[in-house]
């Protein structure tokens, strides 16, 4: 049984295809990451899976229930932390949570208990009875997370949940989410711009770009698909060393660039001693060694030709455009 299954799921806005024939299968109890630059279609995909938007074509199932025809039963089993603000500012934190718990059918006597539990996790206990409009951005975010996990959903969607949170809080929240997954077999679908987070948390990751899924695998396999690690060397005689090293059968590729030797190898840390030995035999002195393990960012670059980090610049760009629209420079 799949917690989530999509068949050629597509969503069009006029001429723009925000989600383009995606086929996903997510297992029960998996932590599944959606990684992609701004505008890739992650939020739109989540909106369809959470019954908020109707697909233009294709099908989607959550817990084997069709998100269009059986929206009601889908809603019973999911929780979501939205990317954008979605609390009622005029209510207190407690009122927001209480209303949520009631709407998800948690009986009155249990509500208080659960609220106390989640508010503790997000460390907002002392602000429980304050109006949300008096909260800072990070505190609001934490309250949204508390609300998303309040009713212990079977499938939990987290759309950039930890954006704007300090590292310590992030760690704390991820620990709890991981424990949820372990204890209750909660399936978690998450989007994040923090690649280290995706790397550490997710079992599998789908890379999304322009509405399409271009690769799905574990973080490790995705990185391995790049051909392994890169060892970067500087020596007194690069030309000769490169020639010698390229003869070794475990060296997959060599390149001489900017006065450095780039070697592509598997499990680089084990090869460094052998490289040192080879150099010593040839009496070539090595000046520096650098081991670069592929990151998800490299994976992204490999599949799309762009870096995901560059997108933060385009975020600035859109801010600039917005400011312009308001007539300011």
């Amino acid at each position: 049984m799949y917690a989530i299954e999509t068949e050629n799921l597509t969503k069009k806005f006029d001429s723009l295809t925000a989600v383009d024939h995606i086929n996903l299968k997510v297992n029960e109890g998996e932590i599944f990451g959606l990684l992609g630059p701004n505008g890739a279609g992650k939020t739109t995909a989540i909106s369809i899976l959470t019954t908020m938007k109707k697909p233009s074509s294709g099908k989607a199932f959550v817990n084997e229930k069709n998100v269009v025809d059986e929206a009601d039963s889908v809603r019973k089993n999911i929780g979501i932390v939205f990317q954008d603000f979605s609390l009622d500012e005029e209510l207190t934190a407690y009122e927001n949570l209480d209303m949520h718990a009631a709407m998800y059918g948690i009986p009155r006597e249990k509500r208080k208990e659960r609220i106390e539990e989640v508010i503790e996790i997000v460390e907002l206990k002392d602000r429980l009875h304050d109006l949300v409009k008096t909260f800072s951005g990070g505190m609001r975010r934490r309250l949204e997370i508390a609300r998303g996990i309040l009713h212990m959903p079977k499938v939990l969607f987290l759309d950039e949940p930890t954006i704007g949170l300090d590292p310590q809080t992030r760690k704390h929240i991820w620990e709890y989410i991981k424990s949820l997954q372990k204890k209750n077999k909660t399936t978690i679908i998450l989007t994040t711009h923090y690649m280290d987070e995706a790397d550490e948390m997710c079992g599998r990751i789908a890379i999304m770009d322009y509405g399409k899924i271009i690769a799905v695998d574990t973080s490790e396999n995705l990185k391995n698909s790049l051909g392994g690690d890169v060892i970067i060397l500087e020596s007194e005689n690069n030309e000769e060393l490169e020639k010698e090293l390229s003869k070794l059968k475990w060296v997959e590729k060599t390149e001489l660039r900017n006065g450095r030797i780039y070697l592509q190898v598997k499990v680089g840390e084990k090869r460094i001693p052998q490289i040192m030995k080879c150099a010593k035999e040839r009496e070539i002195e090595i000046e520096s060694v650098n081991l670069h393990k592929p990151t998800l960012d490299d994976v992204f670059l490999h599949y799309t030709g762009r870096r995901i980090r560059e997108e933060t610049a385009s975020g600035k760009e859109s801010m600039r455009i917005r400011r312009k629209a308001w007539g300011r420079k």
Binding site: T51, M52, K53, K54, L87, D88, L91, M103
Partner: protein, 250 residues
Amino acid sequence: MNNELTAVYFIWKRELIRFFRSKSRVIGSLGMPFFLLAVLGSGLNNVMEVSGGNYMDFITPGIIAMVLLFGSLLSGITVIMDRQFGFLKETLVAPVSRLSIVVGKSLGGATTAIIQGILILGIAMAMGVAVDLTSIPVLLILMLLVSLSFVTLGVALASLMEDMHGFQLVMNFIVMPMFFLSGALFPIDTAPEIVRYISYIDPLTYAVEGMRYLLLDYSYLPLSIVFGVLGGFFIITTSLAVYLFNGIES
């Protein structure tokens, strides 16, 4: 089923909490009707000659109907604000039917509108307007029917609008004409024929006349017609609200 009722209750409660927390909304909603009563009512009392009593008495039911119209429609329209501030998403993914959301919202909006209506009735009485208190129970039923109709009309309109820009349009082309053509401020039976005909298609006319009948014991429309027309209007606006709100995407 039980869960749906709980949801209705919480959505209703949210409307009330928000209403009472927003001091400006309470005061703002009573400022205009009070001003109309005080200035028009007392200022024109000796100039205007109306059947069955003085002018202040005459406009009191009209002002109450206006308070219900404004208060209810505004409550319905807050669906747009919920959308802009993001809270609508939270209600739309909740495992409760859209019908329950509309019902909760409408009952909440109607409750706050009726509270405003009763407050303005109290103010009018304090200013010396003599009303027939025995008809209060029927009056409350009428107020509920009127308020529910206008909240659901607001919800229906809000479901069609992306943002608050459309709100001005609604005020200028629906609310204001509805108010001025309803006979809240002048007797319709002596108005020019064209105005009279238009006022007959204005649902607020029936609300005003119904309240005039109940509070002042005179009206040119029988109560049966008032309830008949408003009942029909209520069914239309509610069906529209449920239908259009159902089609909302986040």
